[in-house]
Symmetry: C2
């Protein structure tokens, strides 16, 4: 078997055999197949796509390129949630505790923010002392104790994906459905989980802007997860405007805590309850989704969800007092309020622009190596459909550095459209696939 | 400008600007743009193609990546011939001397054989003592003296092409019309020529099997040559059966000498005269092609072509006595004759199989690093359309190593079809583009 023949077969539109994909990925991971052959194959896949069988083989090859967590000695069902990322998308810190309270073991391997989207790890690290670089031994120990732990991707997990993703990023081969599918699923399935709830974002602030692309990705991931013997549910959810009212690491943690106290924004609470309920249901804890929703609402209303988050913060070295005193979270030096230029209704909030503005403030990274400022970000006082009166606050900008402030203010102002009629209501959950 | 953006633009079907192509090729040649980005771009070009303007910019960028020969102090017109390669394709050693006799300066930069096709350099090196690794100073000195010299590609000429071709070979990106065009034309135009005659082979033994693909390549090369200010003629010629009757290095040199003595196979003589005449015409030595043909036929009939070849052999260190005594060429240890199984007419000679058989004997290379045996090869006693009687010799196999002999005999036997009716005559020159 030769790498060049495999590239040529894919180039010519033929279906690769599982053994060919396995050979290529194993060789690439071990450094026997060079980057230049992997990038040529990735570009050929970009143009030719992959069949479900090929995508399954690719996912499996990447999954088995490294360690697969063995959580089989934890008796409870293990279920994770994965979101494809967006702006203000902070459900992990709400959903994880709520599902854990309901008896699910939630091994969350999360990522960092890049570009206009934030990352769970960056958000958690805004809690003083919180650390996400756990050993796999500690990760498992915390899971056993609290039913929930957060960790970053480790070199042991799916090394083929780490290597291939870095290569795709610099060779214009990121936007390929089978490659995205295999990348996400290989990492998730290495967590040793029984089931998975996928939150595929669609809209201006999402990786997939069009609902049909999000549907296709959700469907592909569902097929792969089932093909590898997992119970999977995928939701396509709206990312036309930021989720909740805060964008920025510590600001989002504060909003999660408020939500777990029952005082969060409605959209964030509602999506979090739905995702957590799907996890409970996938875990087989309740037979029907309605029962799962009732359990999750109880976990929220009782304050047990908040106490679970506090427990996990404590276990992972963070200051648990943040849950009772938000002032302990980092705060920016300056705040600037952008007000409404006129009366009306919010017709649109340019989601990608809001994410980009937060990145410019320092809340996100322009490049993988960039530094993230935990304190800065944006608070949205109005969301789409809401009434606004001239000079009323629209957005508060939390900044530490004035150099880009005028640029941010302009970007945010331009991203918000005020009109006379409320736009048609978009449901937060556009579709459920299972 | 970033390499990844250039790859993405090509991937998405946009036309690259000359400055983008120049940036990419210069960066790649200097090692600033890595192989993995170049292979991704090559694969994107494979799928998206290139406009004539893009191909021109690519050719120019590769051409100017290295030295361009300055032959401006030689007063005579400089014209080269390039063939896309085939089986028994040995016209360079006939065409070069004939054109030089007619007053053309012919700076021939040639290649080596690979796979089922032979290479001019390997053939010339079968002449005892002949060497092709000339310095550019010697190359120019010999051109000045004899009007003809043969040399291999040097590291100074089109280094971008050397690097990119090696990469394409292992990333399944060879078969791209604009990349092939730019590769050939950048090397040829670095020779400091005024004009070029292209012999694009079409048929079973050619790189382009289908006549329409050969036409497309001929047309693309013509456009580029003209775009860079050269006078160019392109011929699409038949490669459904080997050219002439011999395949193998020393055997082909012997056939060239015989042809220059007026005793060569008709197809070889006729194509050689036509190509040389086109060179004379492109050089502007005669106004009409008929006049050029008459000049070339005179150079052949007078024996001046043979004396020119002899002069060049002498200058380049070879034994000039081979022209008068073919026994001085290397000869194989054994010969085996394959005879006709029945009466009839030769309907087909599988050209690629014959080339492959010669390679198996050692006349060609399986890999770039392979060794070539000058003595071995095949002599075809019958060509397509000729009558044959049972037990008459069809092919003589010249071998030095018996291990693969039975495989070769089987391959050759299977490649020749004897039938009752002569197949329709295919013209040797299918098309002339100018």
């Amino acid at each position: 078997m030769r790498a060049v023949d495999i590239i040529q077969r894919k180039r010519d539109g033929l279906e690769l055999a599982p053994a060919e994909i396995e050979f290529f990925i194993a060789g690439y991971t071990q450094g026997e197949i060079p980057d230049y052959q992997a990038s040529a194959l990735a570009m050929a896949v970009f143009f030719r796509g992959m069949t479900p069988d090929e995508t399954l083989a690719l996912t499996n090859a990447m999954l088995t390129s490294g360690a697969v967590l063995d959580l089989s000695d934890l008796p409870a069902p293990k279920v994770d949630k994965h979101s494809t990322g967006g702006v203000g998308d902070k459900t992990s810190m709400i959903v994880g505790p709520l599902a854990a309270v309901c008896g699910v073991v939630v091994p969350m391997i999360s990522g960092r923010g890049l570009g206009h989207t934030g990352g769970t790890l960056d958000k958690l690290e805004s809690i003083p002392g919180f650390h996400v670089q756990l050993s796999l031994v500690d990760f498992k120990r915390f899971l056993e104790r609290a039913g929930l732990a957060f960790i970053g991707q480790t070199p042991q997990i799916a090394p083929a994906d780490r290597k291939l993703y870095a290569l795709r990023d610099v060779t214009a081969t990121v936007e390929s459905l089978p490659l995205i599918t295999a990348s996400i699923m290989s990492k998730k399935l290495a967590e040793g989980i029984d089931g998975l709830v996928l939150d595929v974002k669609a809209g201006d602030g999402a990786f997939m802007r069009r609902a049909e692309d999000a549907h296709a990705l959700a469907s592909a991931m569902l097929t792969i997860g089932k093909g590898l013997g997992k119970k999977v549910v995928a939701l396509v959810t709206d990312m036309e405007q930021p989720l909740g009212r805060s964008v920025g690491n510590a600001l989002e943690i504060a909003e999660c805590i408020e939500t777990l106290k029952g005082r969060g924004p409605k959209d964030l609470e509602s999506l979090s309850v739905e995702l957590a309920a799907r996890m409970v249901w996938v875990a087989g804890i309740t037979e029907k989704i309605e029962g799962a929703r009732a359990r999750v609402r109880e976990a929220l209303a009782s304050g047990k969800g908040l106490r679970k988050l506090q427990e996990v913060i404590d276990l992972q070295g963070g200051d648990p007092r943040v849950c009772d005193d938000l002032q302990r979270l980092p705060r920016s030096r300056a705040t600037t309020t952008i007000t409404a230029p006129s009366d009306g209704r919010i017709v649109r909030i340019g989601c990608r622009s809001i994410g980009h503005a937060a990145m410019l403030l320092g809340a996100g990274r322009e490049t993988v190596a960039g530094y993230v400022n935990p304190a800065v970000g944006l608070t949205l006082h109005k969301k789409v459909g809401e009434l606004v009166i001239a000079h009323e606050p629209l957005v508060t900008v939390h900044s530490d550095d004035e150099r880009r402030l005028s640029q941010v203010i302009e970007l945010v102002s331009q991203s918000i459209t005020i009109g006379q009629e409320a736009p048609p209501l978009v449901p937060l959950v556009r579709e459920v696939l299972s």
